[in-house]
């Protein structure tokens, strides 16, 4: 029985991640309620339309602030490098179930890096544009013409973020043995060998 486990995320990293998740769920559900009439029923989860409107920006702000902790921790490991190009080339094959030609990967593969940067960028846009029409406190400082741009960009960034999170969640489910990295903090040695061999080498060297 191979039971060797490698530490991937420590306790603080996991707490940070799941706190961001919680805030994302609150911000996304309340925000989607205003995005399309078919989703307005989601305001009921927050005590009605006015309450959803009041709570949404707070959930969003706390999400961005807590994501900042993750950004500081992980941005270096997510810098896109030359070796990612090779991975990108074979991405389609992997999606069709053939992983044989994927190059060896460090802590994060190209797909994970992409999710990281889309999340970081869209959160930055959400933060800035969100302040611009945050009623009643900040909206009065911005002209209507600027707020029109802000609401549109806010929606686009929100959709980009939600789409990237759907990919993120699916990837974690799709690649077996991944979820425990964020729930238990550890992954199996086999998982690391198969999915992140360069990272495995690094960990074993420590």
């Amino acid at each position: 029985m191979a039971t060797k486990l490698l530490q991937r995320y420590n306790e603080r990293e996991r707490m940070n991640h799941w706190f961001v998740v919680l805030m994302f769920v609150l911000a996304a559900l309340s925000g989607l309620a205003f995005f399309h009439p078919s989703l307005f029923f989601l305001t009921n989860l927050f005590g009605g339309g006015a309450w959803a409107r009041i709570l949404h920006p707070f959930a969003g702000l706390v999400m961005v602030l807590s994501f900042a902790g993750m950004f500081i921790r992980y941005w270096r490991e997510n810098v896109i490098s030359d070796s990612d190009r090779e991975w990108k080339k074979h991405m389609g094959e992997m999606m069709r179930g053939d992983k044989s030609r994927m190059p060896p990967v460090g802590k994060y593969n190209y797909g994970q890096k992409l999710v990281f940067w889309i999340a970081a960028l869209s959160l930055a846009v959400l933060l800035v544009t969100g302040f611009m029409f945050w009623r009643p406190w900040f909206a009065p400082f911005f002209p209507i013409s600027l707020m029109r741009v802000a609401v549109l960009l806010h929606s686009i960034a929100a959709v980009a973020l939600i789409a990237s999170i759907i990919v993120h969640v699916y990837a974690a489910i799709w690649v077996k043995g991944t979820v425990r990295a964020m729930t238990r903090g550890t992954v199996s040695d086999e998982w690391a060998k198969a999915n992140h061999p360069l990272w495995r080498e690094e960990v074993n060297k420590r």
Partner: protein, 295 residues
């Protein structure tokens, strides 16, 4: 406004199915404001606050007659005074009664995310249903005329109702009833358009060559119209030339919404079918072989 709303609501904010359309013979109404007859007495402001039980805070003198200086959540109509020179050397004092234009294609209604917080009646009146208002301020972004104001007290949006409660029982709006010079008229839209054109003609005869009716088609026409002495330059009295709902708002509240919702739901569904078709990525585990051997 609430209360008098029955099935003659023809359009409803944040609602994707049609509102009752069957009472199609309801005549469309309009208010016509004749700039050339207005003397700036502000009786309309008083009548509006009286009928609607509004009492704005006493403000500050800003050095001109405008009082209050702008529309507020409790001042739904305001006289605006403009000292302008349409031609060099010819000073004119223009007065315009500001307030909701009651657009045929209302930008506020299009932008509003709360079902039924903004309605358009069959007679053309656009009304805010305060109990459904969530205070987001999207109507402010949707409006091409900068009309809705959100109360600091209750975070609800307010504007002129065209006295929908009075009109609903066959009365004219309070401002129309009170106007001492007949500068404000009220009737069917068709009558008001023809009367407005007649008045424009009279003004032209008296030397205002560019007099005309302000009934902007960019928002499908409005149910509050002006006879302007200088209809070629509506900016002189703070009105936009060719107003329309901002393309940003149309994009945001138009094609982007269903596409994005379909995209997000599609991503989840596609993920599920991908899993079913391709299956998960599993490491070649020695555990499994062990288990097989055990079994």
């Amino acid at each position: 406004m609430t209360g008098v709303i029955s099935q003659d609501v023809m359009a409803r904010s944040a609602t994707t199915t049609p509102s009752p359309q069957i009472r199609s013979a309801v005549p469309e109404v309009a208010k016509l404001i004749d700039e050339s007859k207005c003397i700036g007495c502000k009786a309309c402001q008083v009548a509006c606050m009286n009928w609607n039980d509004l009492r704005d805070d006493v403000g500050d003198n800003v050095g001109v007659y405008d009082n209050p200086a702008d529309l507020t959540a409790s001042s739904w109509t305001v006289m605006k005074f403009y000292e302008v020179e349409p031609k060099a050397g010819s000073l004119e004092w223009l007065i315009r009664k500001d307030g909701c234009m009651h657009c045929e294609d209302p930008g506020c209604l299009k932008a509003c995310p709360s079902p039924g917080a903004i309605v358009k009646h069959a007679n053309g009146i656009v009304d805010f249903v305060s109990e459904n208002c969530i205070g987001c301020g999207y109507c402010v972004k949707g409006c091409p005329f900068d009309v809705p104001r959100i109360s600091q007290k209750d975070n609800k949006a307010y504007k002129c109702t065209l006295c929908s409660d009075r009109v609903g029982v066959g009365l004219e709006p309070a401002c129309v009833k009170t106007c001492p010079t007949g500068a404000i008229s009220f009737g069917t839209k068709a009558d008001m358009v023809s009367y407005g054109e007649k008045r424009s003609g009279e003004l032209k005869e008296r030397g205002f060559q560019n007099a005309g009716l302000y009934n902007p088609q960019g928002v499908g026409g409005t149910h509050v119209m002006y006879v302007l002495k200088h209809a070629d330059q509506p900016e002189l009295v703070g009105l936009p030339n060719n107003p329309s709902i901002s393309p940003l708002v149309s994009l945001w509240k138009g094609i982007a919404k269903p596409l994005a919702v379909a995209g997000m739901i599609g991503a989840v569904v596609a993920s599920f079918f991908h899993y079913v078709k391709v299956g998960p990525i599993e490491e070649k585990s020695e555990d499994k072989n062990d288990e097989k051997e055990k079994a």
